[in-house]
């Protein structure tokens, strides 16, 4: 799981152009939206594209996105259970 978490952090930094950040700057349990990283709705769309491209996960229910994208830990948990590639 730690390997997946680090990989996700790297992919998030790249996808969202968080240029000045490294994976050690992202708290695994911290909220991604609002406080924490302070991401916004466009970032949420970028994360949906990221999951589909890299892990074959297609999010069809917007309601579940809120819980999945709560933190890097929740994304990693969801990816590990639902990935198709």
């Amino acid at each position: 799981m730690n390997e997946l978490i680090d990989k996700l952090k790297t992919q998030i930094i790249e996808a969202l152009n968080l240029e000045d950040m490294t994976i050690s700057d992202i708290d695994t349990e911290a909220p991604l939206f609002g406080s924490g990283l302070g991401l916004d709705s466009i970032d949420a769309l970028e994360l949906i594209v990221l999951l589909e491209r890299e892990y074959g996960i297609k999010l069809t229910n917007p309601a579940e996105g809120k819980e999945i994208f709560r933190s890097v830990a929740t994304i990693a948990d969801y990816v590990s259970k639902n990935r198709t590639k």
Binding site: D20, G38, E46, V49, R53
Partner: protein, 327 residues
């Protein structure tokens, strides 16, 4: 049209292959031998918060930084119009978007690239960041995009529709695009990138403000008629888009042969390179020359450019020292 209304250049700044956001290079500009030279990137951190800059491509950061700098220098915080010229718009994002389209198909595309790959992204982003809700337009007419934007602003100011306008010309060139342009534009000498922003106003608090006297655009003009137009004004200096490539220079030389007088000539493309916004640097250099010509002299320069030999522009600049026309 109100004949009394005039149009002045209050401030301007540039990002190019010369040192950005300053004029330190003017007396000793960098000389390049490479065919493709990218712009020197300005430090954007003081003007654009990192949280906003992270989604912006290079051309957007350059456009925003030159716009904010020109605004700050003009003392006007909210322009009444934002008018941009760009030949190819956000090329870097467009390339990434198309590559993604080929690689992932239509169902899995990044929203930021989708939103920020159109030509009018630049003008609209400037408006969003500056919170300006006035007239906003983008001209994308290849080599006369800047002149088209300038003409729009000039006509609106001269007619009294607006009192001021932020104009800009922005074009970026990617390595792939440079390869394509080498084949499609054999008239270019060396290719580079341009971002130039300027504040125009119907009045000026400065005694050194340069006035835009006239702008004319032509499509496939008769050279003798074009020369006749210049012979009427006999401006002592012509700023030409000569770049040292005979394919580009021949029409300029033909025009010069048809003149009845012998003006001095300046060339700007050898300093700034070719791209679809390069004529904006003629405007920039022309205004700077007039500003430095001394407090007791009236200066006049005519900027002449052509795009692929078919579209021509003539811009006449004049500076009358000691004159203040209140903003």
């Amino acid at each position: 049209m109100n004949k009394e209304t005039r149009c002045f250049v209050l401030s301007m700044t540039q990002v190019s292959c010369q040192k950005p956001l300053c004029d330190e290079w003017i007396d000793n500009p960098c000389r390049y031998t490479d065919y493709f030279v990218r712009a020197q990137e300005p430090d954007t951190r003081n003007l654009i918060p990192p949280s906003e800059a992270r989604r912006m491509s290079r051309i957007l950061k350059r456009a925003l930084v030159t716009s904010i700098t020109a605004l700050n220098e003009s003392g006007i915080s909210h322009p009444e119009a934002i008018i941009t010229g760009t030949g190819t718009g956000c090329m870097e994002n467009s390339e990434k978007f198309l590559i993604d389209l080929c690689r992932y198909g239509e169902n899995c595309l990044k929203p930021t690239l989708f939103m920020q790959s159109t030509h009018n992204t630049i003008s609209s982003l400037i408006a969003i960041i500056l919170k300006c809700h006035g007239y906003n337009n983008t001209y994308s007419h290849m080599g006369i995009s800047f002149e088209s934007a300038l003409l729009d602003a000039w006509l609106q100011i001269k007619s009294g529709m607006i009192r001021n306008a932020l104009i800009g010309a922005h074009d970026e060139v990617t390595p792939f695009m440079a390869l394509v342009m080498e084949r499609t534009h054999p008239e270019f000498a060396f290719i580079s990138e341009t971002s130039m922003s300027a504040m125009l106003s119907s009045g000026s608090d400065s005694t050194s403000a340069c006035e835009i006297k006239d702008i004319k655009l032509f499509h496939k003009p008769d050279m003798e008629k074009l020369a006749a137009l210049l012979n009427e004004d006999t401006d002592p200096m012509l700023m030409l888009g000569i770049n040292g490539n005979p394919l580009n220079d021949a029409p300029y030389l033909e025009l010069l042969e048809n003149l009845d007088y012998s003006p001095s000539t300046e060339q700007y493309k050898k300093t700034f390179g070719d791209n679809f916004s390069s004529s904006a640097m003629a405007f920039y250099k022309g205004v700077r020359i007039l500003e430095s010509c001394g407090d007791d002299k009236t200066g006049r320069i005519t900027l002449i450019n052509h795009s692929e030999g078919s579209d021509w522009s003539i811009i006449r600049l004049q500076r009358q020292p000691g004159e203040i026309v209140k903003k």
